[in-house]
């Protein structure tokens, strides 16, 4: 059903206007940084010189002006040299590289200095202390290796005064197992991960918070159930999780049948964006999940399938478009492999959100979801 902007209260409208002004100012500042000859990175400086038909330093003054950029090609993120993405002012800083994909071929990579810490420090402020107690330890039961998430969750634990226990999980191997049809190996690998998690949870480490993926959360709950226990029994109070299989039905299923009152918050994110938070999910609202990007550092839009510069109406369906605006990375208009419905601003996040996130229908057949 289409929603109307008039459904937003005057207070939220005022907040939304202020948020937009902040976004415009932040956009201007970020573009100035990335395209100035003394601060910008090699990639964007060369791109502006050789490809762009306008001068970003002069013509990008607001967020809407970013539409002047051609569509960002995610292929640009594959291969090196990796330092072409590092702004000159950050060249001598300690740097990390985080990767996505890569089951076959060259993965997409993002270089980072401190963004991942900033994103997760900010995210920490959104977590309720009674569900994610300060000082409690964490379990990271999710993808590790060259992924940002493993370090980020550890940082999250640390900023909240805890220590993070980790389990190794290689999603590239998981995808290979699925593609090869080695389902027994897949089950064994999953069991191998869950066994390690059970060991940590049973070792008196005061683990009260965790990150995990929907599939692994189900498997962990099943394994605990076989021992006659629940997550609550082993001390877990809060879980944050993410993935496109995080549907209302799935959320309802785990809430009603496994969580036994343990708090769970869905998130939507990736190496480029950081972390989009969820509006509180309730049974009364049909377990609807709406995500809001961490503006102004990242901004999501829901755009027409045949025109990526036009946002759809509220409640309408479109493809998710992501713009990243930090001093470490500038990505204007990255087309996510997801679609969803455009959501209204609200008091806590007075800017557009996206709900019902699922694989983009034109790519869905080729997308392996819910692998770990």
């Amino acid at each position: 059903m289409s929603q109307s902007a008039s459904a937003v209260s005057p207070e939220v409208q005022a907040k939304a206007k202020a948020a937009r002004e902040r976004l415009d100012a932040h956009t201007y500042e970020t573009v100035q940084w990335h395209f100035h000859p003394t601060t910008g990175c090699q990639f964007w400086l060369e791109y502006a010189k050789n490809e762009l038909k306008f001068d970003p330093l002069k013509e990008i003054k607001t967020y809407d002006d970013l539409k002047k950029f051609p569509e960002f090609q995610d292929e640009w993120l594959r291969g090196g040299p990796i330092r072409r993405w590092v702004p000159q002012k950050l060249m001598d800083k300690p740097l990390y590289v985080f990767e996505t994909g890569g089951t076959t071929g060259v993965p997409k990579s993002r270089v980072s200095h401190d963004d991942w810490r900033t994103d997760y420090s900010n995210f920490s402020e959104t977590l309720p202390d009674d569900k994610f107690p300060r000082g409690a330890n964490w379990l990271m039961l999710g993808p590790s290796g060259p992924r940002r998430l493993r370090l980020a969750v550890e940082h999250l634990a640390q900023v909240r005064g805890g220590i993070c226990f980790c389990v190794d999980l290689d999603p590239r191997w998981v995808i290979k197992l699925i593609k090869k049809g080695w389902m027994e190996h897949l089950e064994e690998y999953k069991k191998h991960c869950i066994d390690q998690a059970l060991t940590i949870l049973g070792a008196n480490h005061n683990v009260q918070c965790m990150f995990t993926t929907p599939k692994l959360l189900e498997s962990l709950c099943q394994a605990l159930e076989k021992q006659g226990k629940t997550l609550k029994d082993v001390g877990i109070k809060g879980i944050f999780s993410g993935g496109t299989e995080f549907t209302p039905q799935w959320t309802r299923f785990v809430t009603e049948e496994y969580l036994d009152g343990v708090f769970m918050t869905p998130t939507y994110g990736n190496t480029l964006m950081g972390l989009a938070c969820s509006k509180p999910v309730t049974a009364a609202d049909g377990y609807k999940i709406s995500y809001y990007a961490p503006q102004p550092r990242a901004c999501t839009e829901v755009v027409e399938f045949n025109d990526y510069n036009t946002t759809v109406g509220y409640g309408q369906t479109g493809r998710v478009k992501l713009t990243t605006l930090t001093k470490e990375l500038f990505v204007p208009g990255f087309m996510e492999r997801d679609e969803g419905e455009r959501e209204m601003p609200f008091d806590k996040y007075p800017w557009d959100g996206v709900s019902g996130v699922r694989p983009f229908h034109e790519l869905a057949e080729a997308t392996t979801v819910g692998v770990y």
Binding site: E218, E225, T247, Q249, W250, G286, Y287
Partner: protein, 479 residues
């Protein structure tokens, strides 16, 4: 419009997600089908043992009487279906509307399922070679010839990942409940009708609700069925068959590559067998794995191909409610077009001739679906790329091949009808392990003998014959 819920051990579960089952011609929604997630199924398997227990609580004769009652209800009754009811006519129309199968074929499939259910006792007797049902129920006992035997059930439930496009396959799982084993069904997205209707008939006839679950759902439900049930059946293509080859927990059903082989001793009389060949290719719109997709002979192949083409080549795509409709529609957008493109590309090979070309275009495109009209292809030799192809419409190759090379060349064959009186060759055919069902004589490949196993004996799939020794006193109690 009907809303059909997930069934968790017989209990309706209102999912927050629904899939629309649509009419293939009009696009109109016919039903909203609740969608399960794989985790629900996995969690419900805690009660899998209960499914067998509640069935074992029913004396075997009583169980078979309820199955016979269910057969009648399935064929003639108006049964609950989601938030509505469904008459037999509704069923046939709904199945036709979502699968593209003509209505009269949907009714024929109903009659087939009814026949299997009403003759269950005889069928189980044949499949178990006269074993007392009590032995399968208890797990051990004494045979009529006085030998101690044990048949151990390998799984309290059977999982089924059912297809969308072949309503004919359901007879395969009908003996499961009579064998006191529970059912975990994942219906195909376009064909929820048969699993739900048979289940409704079972429940009305007194089969315990705790014995059956139905989980319509997305990409994660099929794998959940296979990983959660110690015995499962899955339906798919050649890749699916290869994937589960050698896995004792999974019985994979796919293309049959069924064939008719004409012996040198009778091939000169081929016109006598034309009707058997035509029927084997054309019946049930050629959709089944039991339909013939290859006719092999050492001579007269061009004449045979031309004669079959003359019979079925002119068949037109008729509306599904036309009693003369012989073709099912392809309801998946682009499927028929892709298949025809592939077939056409193979016509270019030397030695391959399209014999139905003179009867007009084969690909008939409608607004929301497409049809492929019967196609007969002559292959001058067995090396032709198309010689062993199978497609889901009336399609056959007629392959010229010397009789003494046929067994070597035909490849995996679900059903071979060998028309010959050559006893030496019959002996070789009988020994050929790449032929599953062998018909010797002019028997259409589509004619099943329900008293014999089809694609493996389900009793052997579900029960393991193992040694069991105990005291004479205990045995005396179960004699």
């Amino acid at each position: 419009m009907l809303t059909i819920p997930v069934l968790r051990w017989g209990k309706p579960y209102e999912s927050l997600e629904h899939d629309e089952v649509k009419h293939f011609l009009t696009g109109e929604p016919i039903a909203r089908l609740g969608q399960a997630n794989g985790g629900i199924l996995q969690r419900d398997m805690r009660f899998a043992k209960r499914a067998r227990d509640v069935l074992r609580d029913i004396p075997h004769d009583e169980l078979l009487a309820r199955i016979a009652k269910a057969a009648d209800l399935y064929l003639n009754g108006t049964l609950p279906m989601g938030d509505g009811v469904q008459s037999p006519d509704d069923f046939a129309k709904q199945q036709s509307a979502s699968t593209g199968l003509p209505v009269h074929m949907a009714k024929a499939n109903m009659a087939k399922n009814h026949y299997v259910l009403t003759n269950m006792s005889t069928m189980l007797d044949a499949l178990t070679r006269g074993l007392s049902p009590a032995i399968l129920s208890r797990g051990y006992g004494v045979e009529s010839r006085g030998v101690t035997v044990s048949y151990q059930c390998q799984s309290p439930v059977v999982g089924l990942v059912l297809p969308s496009n072949s309503p004919g396959v359901h007879t395969l799982w009908l003996p499961v409940i009579p064998l006191q084993v529970g059912l975990v069904l994942k219906p195909g997205s376009s064909e929820p009708w048969t699993p739900y209707r048979i289940t409704a008939a079972f429940f009305e006839a007194g089969i315990p609700r705790e014995a059956i679950s139905i989980y319509p759902g997305g990409h994660d439900v099929g794998p959940a069925v296979l990983s959660s049930c110690d015995r499962s059946m899955i339906f798919g293509g050649t890749a699916t068959i290869e994937k589960y080859k050698g896995n004792p927990k999974v019985q994979a059903h796919g293309p049959g590559f069924s064939k008719i082989l004409l012996g040198d001793d009778i091939v000169d009389d081929w016109p006598k067998y034309l009707d058997v060949m035509v029927q084997s290719v054309y019946a049930n719109s050629g959709r089944g794995c039991i339909n013939t997709s290859g006719i092999w002979a050492s001579r007269h192949t061009k004449e045979i191909a031309a004669a079959i083409a003359e019979k079925i080549g002119p068949v037109e795509a008729l509306p599904p409610d036309d009693p003369n409709a012989g073709l099912a529609a392809f309801t998946t957008p682009g499927a028929a077009q892709a298949i025809w493109k592939l077939i056409e590309s193979k016509f270019k090979e030397s030695g391959v001739k399209h014999m139905t070309e003179q009867y007009g275009p084969r690909l008939i495109e409608k607004e929301r679906c497409a049809y492929l009209r019967p196609t007969v292809v002559h292959c001058a030799n067995s090396a032709c790329g198309i010689a062993k192809d199978e497609y889901m419409f009336p399609f056959t190759t007629v392959v010229e091949c010397p009789q003494d090379q046929m067994l070597e060349q035909i490849g995996q064959t679900l059903i071979a009808t060998a028309i010959t009186n050559d006893e030496r060759w019959i002996g070789q055919l009988t020994d050929a392990v790449h032929i599953d069902r062998l018909n010797v004589g002019p028997i259409p490949t589509i004619k099943l003998d329900w008293l014999q196993p089809h694609e493996g004996n389900i009793v052997e799939f579900l029960f393991r014959n193992r040694a069991y020794q105990t005291t004479p006193e205990r045995l005396a109690k179960v004699k």
